[in-house]
């Protein structure tokens, strides 16, 4: 107290000279909405339908499920997923004698965008195509095609049914893994209502 008695405030005016409001009241809404950062979207759920197997792009187009461009895109993507080796021996050691081949010019073009194919791969027998549906935390859904190559190896010995059943197994494993990881994301996803939820009984908190 003594401090103030010794040095009384010089201006005797005790109130501010001017005040204004920037956003409160009439016509001043919407600031918080404008100030929000853009939405960050995350996939919260994925579902897969049963994939179909095709022995060629023409086969895919003929099935009349996908458009030609979807069939071609899925074929190229499948081809990219076929294991590659730099020598024939390495490939055969993995996939069995007689299972491997150099890519055709067309395959090399499709897989790498250039015709020079100095690599080897198990012989491509066909591919599988299916639909994946994703839902997001913003309530949006989108659909996209997934695919898997069907190729020759030691176990299937070039048998189409055995080869496509192996491809189905790979697809199932991969899809399960994706579902699990999305589910884990969902589990570690944001928790809310951790503050203030007990308070409604007491009304307000100002004092």
């Amino acid at each position: 107290m003594s401090k103030h008695e010794q040095t009384p405030h010089v201006p005797r005016r005790k109130r501010s000279a001017r005040l204004s409001l920037a956003m409160m009241g009439a016509g001043a809404f919407g600031l918080t909405a404008c100030g929000q950062p853009p939405e960050e979207e995350q996939i919260t759920e994925v579902t897969f339908d049963e994939p179909r197997s095709f022995q060629s792009v023409e086969d895919c187009v003929a099935a009349d499920v996908y458009t030609r461009s979807a069939c071609e895109a899925a074929y190229e993507a499948s081809l990219e997923a076929v294991p590659r080796f730099s020598t024939l021996e390495e490939c055969e050691a993995e996939h069995g004698e007689g299972a491997c081949t150099a890519p055709t010019e067309e395959q090399a073009q499709a897989a790498t965008g250039s015709s020079g194919g100095s690599w080897f791969m198990p012989a491509m027998m066909g591919y599988m195509v299916g639909n994946m549906m994703s839902n997001t935390n913003r309530g949006r859904s989108f659909e996209r095609v997934y695919q898997e190559p069907v190729y020759r190896n030691r176990q299937n010995q070039g048998n189409w049914n055995a080869a496509s059943s192996q491809a189905t197994q790979r697809v199932t494993q991969r899809n399960d893994a994706m579902r699990t990881s999305v589910a884990q994301t969902r589990q570690t996803a944001t928790q809310r209502s951790g503050f203030g939820s007990r308070s409604s009984a007491r009304g307000g908190w100002g004092s």
Binding site: S16, S20, L21, G35, Q36, P37, R192, S197, W205, G206
Partner: protein
């Protein structure tokens, strides 16, 4: 100090609505009243309110430092143990605070007596800082008050300065504001603070308290877009935060809080007996003690208050002549203090309570609430004041 009847401004309700003051009337009962005002002299304001407020504030800050360095005192104030480090660190690292309000019993004569501190979630801010100021300017303009009339009120100006100061210290000059859902008065108060923050050059997004998010692996609490909240103003008390489901995460995350955790020390009525212990006999303090198991029943001339309570809830008093008054409420789960009864001045049927504002560390204005009862509640009316 006088209560003087005067004419109301014409169309003040329309103006209030236009300026975002929708709670001038609450559930059909008036909250803002301007058929009268409280008149003070300059000497009363400066010597009896402003100067003691600054002095008491310094005493409080001295105690915060003591409590922060003593686990025994933290325990005595019933502060939850998992918050001790946050409280201590927020104090030691000099985390700034925004504001607080001291409630005084003062009649115009003799020293103002500190009834309690509202240093964590004080409200009636918009009414005191803005609408009261507009009232004075217009009352002068309309010839209701003389030209030389003044008001003890630089609250908003100080708030803008304090916000600008905070803005320099927080990430991207962004301060989130929050209060709980379904409470129009609190939302309006927070809206006003957002307005002040914007005027101080801050970004001031809003999030409801219930919507604050937590995500493992993220070092801050997060907003509705899962973006980190670096700094957050909360109109929600520390003792509740600490007990809430997310409470244990507060010390682990880097979100800066306003008010900072050390304010938990001053928003606690246990501070009143501590003030009396350390500054016994100070003219602005009332005798106060911790209640314990061997305390006798409340004697005449004493008031009983829970450590944590808001808007007069769970306060019981017995006047020296034996009249008992009590307000019920939900705050029964914390310890209690006892404070000597000191009458508030009575004007007609109304008891007046002075709310003296501190912004940053400066006393800067006041607002007056009145109630027919001796305990000021959330339904108590706000009446403007002027220095004439």
């Amino acid at each position: 100090m006088l209560r003087i009847d005067i004419p109301e401004r014409k169309n003040w309700k329309a103006l209030a609505n236009e300026l975002g003051f929708h709670f001038h009337t609450i559930e059909g009962e008036p909250y803002w009243k301007e058929e009268a005002y409280y008149q003070f002299t300059m000497e009363q304001v400066e010597q009896d309110i402003e100067a003691p407020t600054e002095e008491l504030h310094e005493m409080c800050i001295e105690l915060v430092d003591k409590v922060c360095h003593s686990n025994a005192l933290m325990q005595r104030l019933a502060l939850p143990e998992h918050m001790w480090d946050s409280i201590h660190n927020s104090w030691k690292s000099g985390q700034p605070h925004l504001y607080g309000r001291m409630d005084f019993a003062y009649s115009g004569e003799g020293p103002a007596k500190l009834l309690e501190l509202n240093y964590d979630t004080p409200t009636s801010l918009y009414e005191a800082g803005f609408f009261q100021w507009v009232w004075l300017e217009q009352a002068i303009e309309q010839g209701i008050l003389p030209r030389h009339a003044d008001q003890y009120n630089s609250i908003q100006e100080r708030l803008i300065n304090a916000m600008a100061h905070l803005g320099d210290r927080i990430e991207a000059r962004t301060l989130y504001f929050s209060c709980i859902k379904d409470n129009a008065e609190e939302r309006a108060t927070v809206h006003y603070l957002q307005d002040v923050a914007v005027q101080a050059g801050l970004k001031a997004p809003f999030i409801f308290t219930e919507d604050i998010g937590l995500r493992s692996g993220v070092e801050h609490f997060i907003d509705l877009d899962d973006k980190p909240i670096h700094a957050l103003f909360k109109l929600y008390p520390w003792e509740e935060m600490a007990d809430d489901a997310f409470g244990e995460h507060i010390p682990q995350l880097n979100t800066h809080w306003f008010e900072p955790p050390w304010k938990a020390i001053l928003s606690n009525k246990g501070i009143l007996p501590l003030l009396w212990e350390h500054f016994e006999g100070h003219p602005n303090l009332l005798p106060a003690f911790f209640e314990n198991a061997s305390s006798p029943p409340l004697p005449a001339g004493w008031v009983r208050k829970p450590f944590f309570s808001r808007e007069g809830s769970n306060i019981e008093l017995i006047t020296p002549s034996g009249q008992r008054e009590a307000i019920g409420g939900p705050y029964t789960d914390s310890p209690w203090i006892r404070q000597a009864y000191h009458p508030m001045p009575r004007f007609g049927n109304n008891h007046a309570l002075i709310g003296s504002w501190v912004v940053g560390d400066r006393a800067c204005g006041m607002g007056i609430r009145e109630d027919v009862g001796r305990i000021t509640k959330d339904s108590s009316c706000f009446v403007p004041h002027a220095i004439v």
